[in-house]
Symmetry: C2
């Protein structure tokens, strides 16, 4: 590489570092908002975050960046593999940021904020009509955004690609198509089973004790508390990065499994962040591929691992030790069945890992139709209910439980839902791949040793940053293209023996 | 005011707002560092804060600010009183920031950081000689800073003025001069008293319960939890401002008074911040006068109020209710004496409110001598020990307990110590002023009603922001210039009846 080029690359990295510090600060402000912020300080924090978001945007759209990129692209072949990865992604992100006029971004952000409040209000009052114009405008702006960036022919693809680089609606259609019928059949078998999960029998699990148990558990999974924390918030999440990973969960005296599985899920995200190359955290070499890959990590730990017999062979004695009296009347089999309960639920976020995927297929069908113009927003509630009956297997009692249940569309997060189900597919596929390479894995879990599994994930997924896109990294890690087979196999192997 | 001028003022305010958001973010990062930051994330946070500090400095030294100020100064008489306050202080801060070359600031910051580590290490090993060159350089840089800003004739005055606008070494000398001899006499009387405080008898105060008690207590004092919090940290502090006030205290099972009084102290700071005009929080109309005035608020609540009989008439029953068994063997008189214990202590931060002032006089004498060139750093330990015997009444066992005990000089915070004692003087003076105007105050306290006192402080001190300097605001609030009489009177009235 020529000296001039080396210089351009160094300056590019420096600009990325500056942007990183602002992004990292915004992320901490967001965490603090969910975890600590006094209620009366919300307006103050909103202005503070908006100010920093403005700086962040300005830093990422500096015209010099274009110059450095052009210089590097002029002799692309001279660049190392790593440098090409950086240049490719920064060019994508930079062009997207530059092509959106500041006025458009401000309007979109402002409208999404208004739509969020309209949605929260409409859900409370079960009044879709009041929210309808806000959602319509959100979709129109999302279409406009795609057009501004040159995706006017396939606007929904743009929004999918935003969350999962390399993914398209057609590819998802193919994947979900292979999943839908066999999954519906499996759900039918489970629901027809004489085995029924007992109604909730968890009562009086002291919250401080749950918190101690959860911290011990996720520490054993490999979460590094020297560079991270887990706190409490209304909705569990994981933020920050490997330099300072901030996760949350929530605690309910009468539902200890919720705290445990939310924490394991977030720990899956946290372990991915902690496994990305720290020294590259301000550039694409140290960033996550996308949402689906992120979800594959959280779902793998939460489901394939956290809901397994082997896992609970190790943790059940510790759980009983922490809550002797509360668990005294509950047998091991009852506990395990409660952990793997399957029930139809109109609400996505309250659904088990089997029926959850049906919820995602429903949303994908509707998003696609909305973006293709095949479905008008005013017809959405009826179509939601009709398709919900057809795909999920039940019709919501009302719009609050139906089309108004999710926050995503109100915040203009279109193309996001599919990532959850893609993540489930990847998780299962990774699971069979690692199980083949490391046949002793379940014995490790029984001993409370998760290091071999984590080592494999670090090697196959984490350390690569954004070197590969969504499809490539799955191929790379499992030797096969992403497909629905593994998820179907896993669900059958896990649930058919339980629900005979 | 002309339209042009109005425009300049509006632009100035906007620049101050931008700078405010960065400062407010830096403050939150600092809070998080003390309260939440995982140990392995310290280096990450240091870089993050340094980056934002750079932006903050750049925002505060934009050349346009000079232009707007010049425009406003050209027709100063046309400005409103409020606008003049803003212009005056912004000019001061701007000129100070501009006159210090960026290279100088970076060198000073970097050296202070190195000196801090050298100090921590030297204190651990009781090795002043290893720290000596670092302190020498800190002082040389502080002298250079004063010279760069045009205070070469009186560099120590500059550092005093930095913390307490309008204050000078000569004025402090006069105030401390009036305090020293009578205070020494009072300490002698107390130490000669046959009344001796029993050794610590507090044991086993559950920390969670202390935390509940502390929160209830400071809520009753008037702290607004809708716009603030109190958490735990190694060293108690108060940060943020009235939009989001973040205080901390610390908890020790065997020392509940430490948590309580640290919390009351920080609440005094917090109430001041919450009483400043919120809408002006990004400009001098909504900022605190200086360190001494800030300390006057914390000390007033901690000492005049928190250590009074009337206060404990209300809180003792609540305290006993929270810790029935732990307090069962302790009489009300014993408790009250423990709250007002006076003992010579070589360590400033562990000293009671009587002898504390002697520690400050000692440090003031030494700082002055160092800056006048009358004392060489190499002679500092000997001089510390000699003066400590003379002023505080005991000689430290070693340098770790003596000249190395405080962090301030290692961080180049010269001229800061006097604020503590000035704050004590102001607190006492405010106390007699308010007691005269509101004769029912002690009855209010006995009923747990602190609103009348807080209302008076808001009226006399808080709402003014930086409209008056240190001396002016005391004159304004109490009708008299700042003097040591009130503090001496208060200490005698509080302690002589106890230590007969």
């Amino acid at each position: 590489m020529e000296r001039m080029q080396a210089n351009a690359f160094e300056q590019l990295l420096q600009a990325l570092r500056n942007q990183y510090w602002l992004g990292s600060t915004l992320s901490l402000l967001g965490w603090d908002e969910q975890v600590n912020l006094p209620s009366g300080s919300a307006e103050h924090r909103a202005e503070q975050s908006a100010f920093l978001a403005g700086l962040h945007h300005r830093e990422g759209t500096r015209p010099e960046i274009d110059g450095w990129l052009a210089e590097l692209e002029a002799d692309f072949e001279q660049l190392t593999e790593e440098q090409r990865t950086v240049v490719r992604w920064v060019r994508r992100d930079y062009d997207r940021a530059r092509k959106l006029p500041e006025k458009f971004v401000a309007e979109k952000t402002e409208h999404a904020s208004r739509a969020f409040h309209a949605w929260a209000d409409a859900r409370k009052r079960n009044d879709f009509a009041a929210y309808e114009p806000f959602l319509e405008r959100n979709i129109a702006l999302a279409q406009e955004e795609a057009a501004l960036l040159g995706w006017e022919e396939n606007p929904y693809d743009y929004h999918v690609d935003r969350h999962d680089p390399g993914m398209t609606a057609a590819r998802i259609e193919e994947l979900f198509g292979g999943l839908r019928a066999p999954l519906l059949e499996l759900v039918g078998t489970i629901l027809d089973s004489p085995v029924k999960v007992a109604p909730d029998f968890f009562r009086g699990f002291e919250v401080e004790r749950q918190e101690l148990f959860v911290r011990k558990l996720i520490g054993l999974l490999g979460f590094d508390f020297d560079r991270g924390r887990i706190d409490r918030s209304l909705h569990p999440f994981c933020s920050g990065d490997g330099a300072d990973t901030r996760m949350t969960t929530r605690y309910d005296r009468d539902n200890p499994l919720d705290a445990i599985f939310s924490a394991i899920h977030e720990t899956g995200h946290g372990l991915y962040e902690q496994g990305l190359p720290l020294e590259h955290r301000s550039n694409p070499l140290g960033e996550a591929v996308g949402m689906a890959v992120h979800e594959s990590q959280s779902r793998l730990w939460e489901n394939q691992i956290g809901q397994s017999r082997a896992f609970w062979k190790h943790f059940e004695p510790l759980f009983r030790q922490a809550f002797r009296s509360q668990l005294s009347g509950i047998s091991s089999d009852e506990l395990y069945l409660a952990i793997n309960a399957v029930r139809l639920n109109p609400i996505r976020v309250d659904s088990d890992e089997v029926t959850y995927n049906l919820h995602i297929i429903l949303r994908f069908e509707l998003e696609k139709a909305l973006f293709l113009g095949d479905l008008k927003v005013r017809d959405l509630p009826g179509e939601w209910n009709r398709l919900s009956k057809e795909i999920v297997g039940l019709e919501p009692k009302n719009d609050a439980e139906g089309v108004l249940q999710d926050v995503h569309w109100s915040g203009a997060a279109f193309g996001y839902f599919p990532s959850y189900c893609l993540g489930n597919m990847m998780a299962a596929q990774l699971w069979y791949a690692v199980a083949e390479e490391l046949p002793d894995l379940e014995n490790d879990f029984e001993r409370g040793d998760f290091a071999p599994l984590l080592g494999w994930l670090r090697e196959k997924i984490h350390r690569h940053g954004r070197r590969f896109d969504t499809d490539e990294i799955v191929q790379q890690a499992t030797g096969k293209p992403l497909a629905p087979d593994a998820l179907l196999r896993y669900l059958k192997e896990r649930y058919l023996p339980l629900y005979r």
